[in-house]
Symmetry: D3
Subunit: 113 residues, 6 copies
């Protein structure tokens, strides 16, 4: 696991803890639901991660893209599949997604080497 991935995960964990120690039941419920929808069901976990990835890409949320890129790597998504998800996101979302695609590929590269 590259340094950047580790730092990303640690920071994400730290900030989630700040939120979740708050007494907000609704936010906790949302976080639980956010975990639930990516669990294996009629669709396998890998496909669900790709759905999360392309949704994050077209909405241009760097942290969300980074999260799902890391997840995709960890569940064994191939370079070819990653390219195809990026291509669909690029065509749907337009050139405005390119800076995010650049950062997603940079992270993908770091995890590949």
């Amino acid at each position: 696991m590259s340094d950047r991935v580790q730092r990303f995960k640690a920071e994400r964990e730290r900030l989630n803890e700040i939120i979740l120690k708050k007494e907000s039941l609704d936010i906790k419920r949302f976080f639980a639901l956010d975990t639930a929808v990516y669990r294996e069901g009629a669709l396998d976990v890998r496909t669900k991660e790709l759905l999360g990835l392309v949704a994050s890409l077209v909405l241009r949320c760097d942290d969300c893209i980074a999260y799902h890129t890391i997840q995709a790597r960890e569940v064994g998504v191939s370079d070819e599949v990653f390219n195809e998800v990026m291509s669909i996101g690029l065509v749907v979302g337009g050139s405005i997604t390119i800076p995010h695609i650049r950062r997603a590929y940079q992270l993908w590269e770091e995890m590949s080497s």
Copy 2:
């Protein structure tokens, strides 16, 4: 094929023709690319349609959602899979996607009966 689906397809076809008879090479290239990214590759056509569907849902584009919902039906996506794609889109995109999810389910229902 329900009446609404047929009308949707006919209208889409008619308007695409207006655009494509224009002498804009760049727009034609984009349309070609828009077809290309959904072709079978490392990912199968069914998964690519689901990616297009969830991307359309979180970007809240009714025509795009209708198009991919029809495509999804035609390539044999099950009710359970459709539910899971809607769930991920809903959690990623928030309650603001609900009116679009309502219309997507209405169309799905019409194609099921």
Copy 3:
């Protein structure tokens, strides 16, 4: 209650039923949460409706704006307050929100007469 408001509510109800009779636990949970966050808490119901209204306006979701406009009316929001919420949404979201503001005021007018 004006005809349009009644039709809007009936249609919304009908489509929600289509969704909720599906066996999707995650979507049901989201709908429950979507109800929960607008319940009286540290903030009263009226203020929460205004938050939902301005959020819907800047995200330019007509059905969501119509829903919260109706709710705002029913919990006794005054014309002056409605104007101020529209003004903040307009300045935050820009001229792109104007078509939605037009439709919101049209609905507001219908409920006032």
Copy 4:
């Protein structure tokens, strides 16, 4: 002027009047500013309409696109220029803009015949 353009303009006028007869000074100021930025300055009116058009297209606001498409026609924008603005909007905003581009071309056609 086609029927549809006339109806669009009349409805727009009617709804603006509903808004502007309200006692909201801030909304009036915004409307004045919205007119001011499209006035001739260092850039001519035609170029400013094209800027308004492409901004409306990538933000996917049909009413705004229709308004600027009508304006563009009235200040003498050519078919070729219209195509190029649509192309840039399509590439920047992605396939998600296609339904809006379809409707913009349909309106453009109606005004051409």
Copy 5:
């Protein structure tokens, strides 16, 4: 006032000065209007800040969220109210707002200690 809040305010001030020393009357008018809509009216300043905060959150603008979070703190918004605004924004805007909610809570924490 924490270091980060002070730096945020100073940087914001410095950049606003760059913009406002430009000879753009329209931009100055917009800035004046942007101040005007948050002034006390039928709604008090506190409620207006919450409206600005939730609008910024669902539009996922970190600088705007930081600004209204600081303002909210300074006009005496409680932890419970802050939680409820975050919850509504999260449900309306979806999981895509979570990275912004993390940063908002981090800033809120810094101002609380």
Copy 6:
């Protein structure tokens, strides 16, 4: 050319290379199309850069804004024209664009001195 502009260009180049050495024909085609639409045609290059700039601004993509701001400078856009494009983007996109306008002016300033 300021240091920041040089670094921006070098980083952009480096990341584009990571993407383009991938074997994704569709992404390469999109990049080619993204170059093609800004070439001189019925509209000159300067106007097309302004269209790209205002589209990037209302979509709030900092890297895209920076890119087109640099391009605009290099094709000889004046301060007055830059102000007018920013004004239109600000009015169309709302106060939510202000943080991006701040950064665009900062870059514009750096290139002016």
